[in-house]
């Protein structure tokens, strides 16, 4: 059986959906009608685009509600969505819809943003490409993880699970197939949404290093 791990990478092309919002009601309306690629874009690509930042802000919706509209409580609720606990983008969409519906139903004063600061819903096409890198054991895995692009790390940790609807991230799956069940379990315990991508790379390397010594 071939037990090597082939690293892939992924890139996005951003699509403009011609749907914009100037307040929470319009965000809710937009959330209900955009394709899942848009939910993905605003909850995931943000992380990739800002991977150098401290873990916050976690998604476009929370950022815009907090920083543009100044609605800190609502922004906090949106930021608090535990993305890792959702198996797919429709479930994630439903959670955002629930939070916004609750907020709006309380009859709170709805304010509009300034002209020019509207929220624009976007979507994306994702391109998946093979890299020349194969790992045959944990030591090689660490070496490659050190040099692959953030895009590749992102693909195996996020894209595979949420958008391509695999049950777990690719690394955990490979570890499990290699017989490293505890390593797979430890990896799944990491919350990848609450660290920067460089931090995540470091965390995974440190974790795998412990097992590579055995």
């Amino acid at each position: 059986m071939n037990t090597s791990f082939h690293f892939y990478t992924q890139m996005h092309l951003i699509e403009l959906l011609r749907i914009k919002a100037k307040n929470p009601v319009e965000i809710l309306e937009g959330l209900k009608k955009v394709p899942t690629s848009s939910i993905y874009y605003h909850t995931h690509r943000f992380l990739q685009q800002h991977h150098y930042l401290s873990p916050e802000p976690p998604n476009d919706f929370a950022y815009w509600i907090t920083e543009v509209l100044g609605l800190e409580e609502l922004g906090e609720s949106l930021a608090g969505v535990d993305t890792v606990s959702f198996k797919n983008l429709e479930e994630l969409r439903a959670e955002y819809i629930k939070i916004l519906t609750n907020y709006i139903s309380k009859g709170k004063h709805i304010i509009d943003c300034e002209d020019g600061e509207e929220f624009y819903f976007m979507g994306c096409k994702t391109f998946v490409l093979p890299t020349p890198y194969f790992a045959h054991n944990l030591k090689e895995f660490i070496e490659i993880l050190n040099k692959i692009s953030i895009n590749s790390l992102y693909f195996h940790m996020f894209e595979a699970r949420m958008r391509l609807k695999r049950d777990e991230n690719d690394f955990a799956n490979w570890f499990r197939n290699m017989g490293e069940k505890k390593l797979a379990k430890d990896l799944l315990r990491l919350d990848p949404y609450n660290v920067t991508l460089e931090g995540l790379r470091e965390d995974i390397i440190n974790l795998v290093r412990k097992y590579a010594k055995h």
């Binding site: 890139m11 092309l13 699509e15 685009q49 930042l53 300034e114 020019g116 624009y120 895009n151």
Partner: protein, 406 residues
């Protein structure tokens, strides 16, 4: 000559490797860029750099320039103004002549590549050729499309909708049109004179030449002298902050010599600066890229207090030099700055003054914003990302699906 591998030291070999992988996927395709000018202007500048780099990545790319006479370009200048919201009288004769020149060019060009990449409105009607020859056609809009005059927009829309895709620089520029619209932001070139690393002695010599004291804080706005860049508002900000901190203000830019309105703005700025020796109003001649680079690098804080903005690449230039930037939340600026993470977005003179004092008094925070800002530009607004987006765009023309395995 530029070499794609020279960018590896800046963005990382991994990113350049990915560009090569993408380039390989397009080896069978030919790409033909068509615009209306070989020199001058942002489009020619980017194509001059982009086409050779695409070729190094294995993409068979070329660049053709359409032909037009003075009458044609006077008409397209009217288009340009109308697309920026200015009332222009564009007659049916103008439109007829515009189409006639496009048709003449379509015949003259005679060979079209697999992907025809049309830049801006001047050659837009070349798309009429598609019904005879097929091919993939993309229209790239480089201009601010926020508030166009409806007549000209409707005229152009009838042509835009014949393309396979349209590309815009900022979300606000997208329009109610039926074809896929792609967001591709413009970019800066980190190896150009305006953005490359400079020796400290070079920066110092520019300051000495311009009479600026390097030992006191320098607050700078680089922009042409235009009311929409709000240079008078910047002086107001300076005056409010100067009461508390001994700063110098640099307002530097070009574009006033052959522009009567620009000259008027420049006079207004000089008059408002009056005899304050710490306000440096500097009219830069063309080809002052090294001076702009040095001024940005010497600055303590950089402002871009525009009232209206296209994309606002001066913000990217400033952030690339790891400078804390306070800029208005207009045009493409919010794409470049996430408020309080990679810079500051402001909305008023008072707000800008408040944040300027804060950044001058909290240099560590200011430095952190600058570092984050530089990283953000590195990841999202350098020419390598721009090339990647173009490669993805070309590939996407042959795929309908959302997730594409290559």
């Amino acid at each position: 000559m530029l070499n794609i591998n020279d960018y590896a030291v800046i963005v990382g070999q991994d990113i350049i490797d990915e560009l090569h992988i993408l380039g390989q996927k397009l080896q069978e395709k030919t790409v033909q860029n068509i615009n209306s000018t070989a020199v001058g202007g942002g489009v020619a500048e980017i194509l001059t750099r982009m086409v050779p780099l695409l070729r190094q990545l294995g993409v068979n790319a070329r660049w053709d320039v359409m032909k037009g006479n003075e009458k044609f370009f006077n008409i397209t200048k009217k288009f340009h103004n109308a697309l920026h919201g200015v009332n222009e009288d564009i007659s049916s004769d103008d439109l007829r002549y515009f189409l006639e020149v496009n048709r003449e060019n379509a015949e003259e060009i005679n060979s079209f590549d697999d992907i025809v990449f049309i830049h801006d409105p001047q050659p837009i009607a070349l798309i009429e050729k598609k019904k005879d020859i097929g091919k993939k056609w993309v229209w790239r809009c480089h201009i601010d499309f926020t508030d166009p005059q409806p007549d000209i927009m409707n005229f152009l829309k009838s042509y835009i909708e014949k393309y396979d895709s349209a590309v815009f620089s900022a979300p606000a520029f997208s329009k109610d049109i039926s074809i896929p619209q792609i967001l591709i932001s413009p970019s800066i070139d980190p190896l150009s004179d305006k953005n490359k690393e400079l020796m400290p002695e070079m920066v110092d010599s520019v300051l000495v030449r311009l009479g600026i004291d390097k030992d006191r804080p320098i607050v700078t706005q680089i922009s042409r002298f235009d009311y929409l860049k709000d240079p008078l508002g910047v002086i107001e900000v300076y005056k409010k902050v100067k009461k508390y901190i001994d700063i110098q203000l640099v307002l530097a830019g070009g574009g006033a010599t052959d522009d009567p309105e620009g000259m008027k703005v420049l006079e207004g700025v000089r008059s408002k600066a009056a005899d304050d020796r710490d306000i440096h109003v500097i009219l830069l001649p063309p080809s002052s890229d090294i001076e702009i680079n040095a001024l940005q690098r010497a600055s303590t804080v950089i402002l871009q207090k525009s009232l209206k903005e296209g994309f606002g690449l001066t913000v990217s230039e400033a952030l690339w030099k790891a400078k804390p930037v306070i800029a208005s939340a207009v045009g493409g600026i919010p794409l470049q700055i996430k408020h309080k993470y990679s810079g500051i977005l402001s909305h008023s003179i008072d707000g800008t003054s408040h944040y300027l004092k804060q950044l001058l008094n909290e240099p560590e925070y200011a430095q952190k914003l600058g570092i984050n800002g530089k990283e953000h530009i590195k990841n999202n607004f350098l020419i390598t990302r721009h090339i990647r987006d173009y490669l993805l765009l070309f590939i996407s023309l042959y795929h309908e699906e959302d997730v594409i395995y290559l």
